[in-house]
Amino acid sequence: MSHHIVEVKDLRYTYPDGTPALHGVSFRVMHGESVALVGANGAGKSTLLLHLNGYLAPKGGEIRIGDYPLTKKTLQTVRRTVGMVFQDPDDQLFMPTVYDDVAFGPLNLGLPDAEVENRVLNALSVVDTLHLKNRPPYKLSRGEKRAVAIASVLSMSPDILVMDEPTSDLDPRARRKLIELLKTFKHTKIIATHDLDMVVDLCERTIVIFNGRVTADGPTLQIFENQAVLAESHLEKPLGMQGCPVCSGHR
């Protein structure tokens, strides 16, 4: 059961226009871990995520997903293993109906029709959107779109879930529901986010990135207690850990 490992070794990347993005990022995520990737805007989070499914090819360093190094040959296998949920669900839901969209991945895997149907219905009921299956994606609310986007990845039964800002643009209740849902997943999770309160709820481990380098990597609470590290990486303590401004009389 040690397959669902993500290992990044000294990853370097510079965009074609010369903008440097990553200067040697290394970490190792173990099976079943839930890891947050936090960092200021432009720190390199998105660039890093794009490497994890082989969309960008590293200019230096190495990535291993499960038992495979990420190369052109293993790309298909890796993409099957790593399910990626994008920040804007409109980018991810491109088929005419919700059902078609969730079926897109399984059909590409070449599964038999009955199995596809099974997986689609399963994935939709996990995220509680079975009633939306015949609706066109553009008619859904933000929260519904997000849930369907997650279902469209779940239907491929990936071992590793990579998410970019899963809670952005959600109202508080939809956000809470999403966090509860993510808690029930047994996958290895890598979540890039600015929602540090969600990180406290969901991820036992946090990796902080700043200017293309890992500035901290360790247990979430320990990192968020470390004022020096946060300041250095242009971050702030999660609101939930900041003490109440009304009760403590600061304002």
């Binding site: 298909q76 991810q92 088929m95 895997l109």
Partner: protein, 270 residues
């Protein structure tokens, strides 16, 4: 601004109409596409001075409107929207062709006028039939039927994506237009120059989005083929429907039904 947004909702209306559950809506999309195709070919193939023989063809759109419970006013507005094109094509006919063709009491009707009306009639029927097809089948249904009938997938996928992202694009464009009009006063900043850069911006954004969509597709094992998952089934009576209508259209194409009726009545009276 309101122009963009209201036409956006209009597309939504079409979508809602196509989601109704009537006998026509439930029919296999391929049957409807083929029937409409035969209809359009028959209507278009008439000579330029034919009017009377065209009139019986109205039965097909009327039949669908009634059976499919379609809103007539909405559809006729849509047809009217495209009418300027047809008018432009035919508007010079009355000037070019002044030979007297028809004498109704004191008014003489030249061949140009007759062919002009014939064009308008044919235009109304073909565009109407196409709109009715979409209103009873839905855009996606039509695309699906085309794909199943062997239209290359590249085109079908283009059409599907066009439709899917039209909504996103219109949304984005109307947000930009709104932002601009909220910061422009007394007509300043509304000029062509600003429009140009807005268009460019929109294009860049579109390209970015296309890239992200492609990435999302790759992540889910896209290999150049989209595999549709809709087992379509043609039932026996649907084939009869197609054959029946086609036979009627071909009959009405070669026999002028109103004239036939006329001679029949004359013979009956004499």
């Amino acid at each position: 601004m309101s122009g963009i947004e209201s036409s956006f909702f209009d597309i939504g209306t079409m979508d809602t109409i196509s989601r109704q559950d009537t006998l026509v809506h439930r029919m296999d999309p391929r049957i409807k596409v083929l029937t409409t195709l035969v209809f359009i070919v028959c209507v278009v193939s008439f000579g330029k001075h034919d009017i009377s023989a065209l009139v019986p063809f109205l039965i097909y759109p009327l039949f669908l409107v009634v059976l499919g419970d379609l809103p007539v006013r909405y559809l006729s507005r849509k047809v009217a929207l495209a009418a300027p094109f047809a008018i432009l094509i035919g508007i010079f006919n009355p000037l070019l062709d002044q030979e007297l063709l028809l004498q109704v009491g004191p008014v003489g009707l030249s061949g140009g006028w007759v062919s002009f009306f014939s064009i308008l009639l044919r235009f109304t029927m073909t565009v109407g039939a196409a709109l009715i097809l979409i209103a009873t089948t839905g855009y996606n249904g039509v695309c699906m039927a085309l794909e199943k009938m062997g239209v290359p997938q590249v085109f079908v996928v283009q059409l599907l994506f066009l439709y899917r992202y039209l909504f996103v694009l219109v949304d984005e464009a109307s947000r930009m237009v709104r932002a601009r009009s909220l910061r422009s006063f007394e007509g300043k900043g509304m000029g062509m120059r600003v429009f140009g850069s807005m268009g460019g911006h929109l294009l860049l954004r579109t390209m970015d989005r296309a890239q992200r969509i492609h990435l999302a597709m790759l992540c889910r094992g896209f290999d150049g083929n989209i595999r549709p998952f809709h087992p379509l089934r043609v039932r026996g009576w649907e084939v009869m429907y197609l054959l029946g209508w086609s036979a009627l259209f071909v009959f009405m194409r070669f026999y002028n039904v109103p004239r036939l009726l006329g001679t029949l009545i004359q013979r009956f009276l004499s």
